[in-house]
Symmetry: C2
Subunit: 202 residues, 2 copies
Amino acid sequence: MTTLRKASSNAARRSEASRQAILTAAFDLVNEVGYAKLSIEGIAARAGVGKQTIYRWWPSKGMVLFDAFLMLGEGSDGEAVLPDTGDLEADLKAVLRATVAELNDPRYDEPMRALNTEIMHDPALAAAYAERLDGPMKELKRQRLRDAQRAGQLADDLDLDVAVEMLWGPLLNRWLQRGGPLTSEYADAVVETALNGLRPRR
Amino acid sequence: MTTLRKASSNAARRSEASRQAILTAAFDLVNEVGYAKLSIEGIAARAGVGKQTIYRWWPSKGMVLFDAFLMLGEGSDGEAVLPDTGDLEADLKAVLRATVAELNDPRYDEPMRALNTEIMHDPALAAAYAERLDGPMKELKRQRLRDAQRAGQLADDLDLDVAVEMLWGPLLNRWLQRGGPLTSEYADAVVETALNGLRPRR
């Protein structure tokens, strides 16, 4: 029984090592060759596994890439929260500036564009993304806004989903569509405009 | 000379007819087969032209599709403006609801996702899109906001570029990422939240 258990545990370790090698290979490779040329064959060769190993676990290159992003998140602790210094405007600016830096990071640019391409064309992947990656992130954002709302810093009747889209949406769009420079100044302007609204404050 | 001129004019007409046949074929075909399977060969076959004719005029299938979108716009008159009834909130809701209807139109869904995919991965196409399609649209939007600003309905120091992104960005994002239902109610909520801002109005 011990031998059996050891064999099974060794197999699990080998599986986990293969999984990590595949996900790392997918992430690296999409950066090097671009998403259009990313293939299961290429990922398999880079990871040193047979392509059947990949097909056994993932239905498409989009899902491999999606899991590669999930793996990136596994390193950070699960208790992540957005900063709360009591100064909502400053905290939001810090977080949106960090988002800008991430979107501008050349290591993530091509993989994130690839993931967004797949989401755009594959409703099943979009649902997985909404549930497992974007959903938890949005809940963190809503939580910070909810605390501010309780402290009277945000309107009582504010729809927090709309508020989250209004803060992060303009950054994501500008990045996706390359519609203009994605800078810290832009992040600051978005925060100020969203908080104050377009109408004059008297 | 008359004969020469007639021949040249006939050639121009034939070119224009081919151009329109190619653009229509691209638009129809991307709807039927999806963007991944759209090919220059397929467009050529559907349009009844040789593929060299397409390659002579366009460097990629993305640029063909982009011109197909430009052609759609050619039908509308060049004097388009956003509605101005004096009620900014009502006007913006009408326009954003129309945007929602367009994004939800099954005829445009796949071609627009395809165009956005290309924009995401092709900086040259993104620049052409920003200059020739998105730029003029954004100027119309800014113009309506500028008029409201002059009438004292919007903050004096409002950055109109940020305001435009804050109104239309959440719709585009929700559509691109399939992040939730894209409805008239959502359009209304975006307009109200953007105008009032996240902070309480006292």
